[in-house]
Symmetry: C2
Subunit: 108 residues, 2 copies
Amino acid sequence: MTATSELTAVCSALGDPTRWEILSLLGEEVLSASALARVLPVSRQAIAKHLEVLTEVGLIASERRGREVVHLVIGARLNALGHELDRLGNAWDARLRGIKELAEAPDA
Amino acid sequence: MTATSELTAVCSALGDPTRWEILSLLGEEVLSASALARVLPVSRQAIAKHLEVLTEVGLIASERRGREVVHLVIGARLNALGHELDRLGNAWDARLRGIKELAEAPDA
DNA sequence: GCGGTATGCAACTCTGGAATTGCAGATCAA
DNA sequence: TTGATCTGCAATTCCAGAGTTGCATACCGC
């Protein structure tokens, strides 16, 4: 997977309100799919699919605890994404600023 | 719009590969919808819709230049998103680390 | 063992959005 | 004026994915 397509995948995973609710809850405590289903207004299977998506892009990890499987959020993954976006934003601004200055420069 | 729903909207906008290509091109130079359509393998109308989405979440801005409308990327918007995600990632990690320490602490 | 609960898999529905084509209006350049 | 190009709007097609229900399986406590 290229860098851009991975960016796209993570952003796509973050582009769903239900997944944000899941992440927000998991950010407070470690929970199982069934526990999440008791809180959120969707079925356990729907949540299971969201958890799968979030796991695929590395935003959460799962761990078996006896009979149940608990999920926890990986803050570092979000940090990495944040830094990447910040870096891109700076690069774009810098380049366009450069073009503008070039256009405004009195060509000697 | 709440803070979370705005985060969701921006991430959703960034969750499409074609939109990333558009942003990438606009990060290099200011272009019109027709100019983008000449480069990308989709129709001008499809690009127009993508530009509308990107504009709605504040990632690009448009400017009329005579007969055509050119679009430019707003790097600061991406910076803001990056910082927000970074902040969230840190908060989640900190809280879960706190829980873990609490669990491992020898209760006096 | 038995009931309750948690997980996993599969089939199905259905809506949103990505993309297309077609057409009409506006503007520049010859 | 006329032709070429850019834009904007509308109707349509099509598919990914969000959500559901149903069932089978595995595990814990009593």
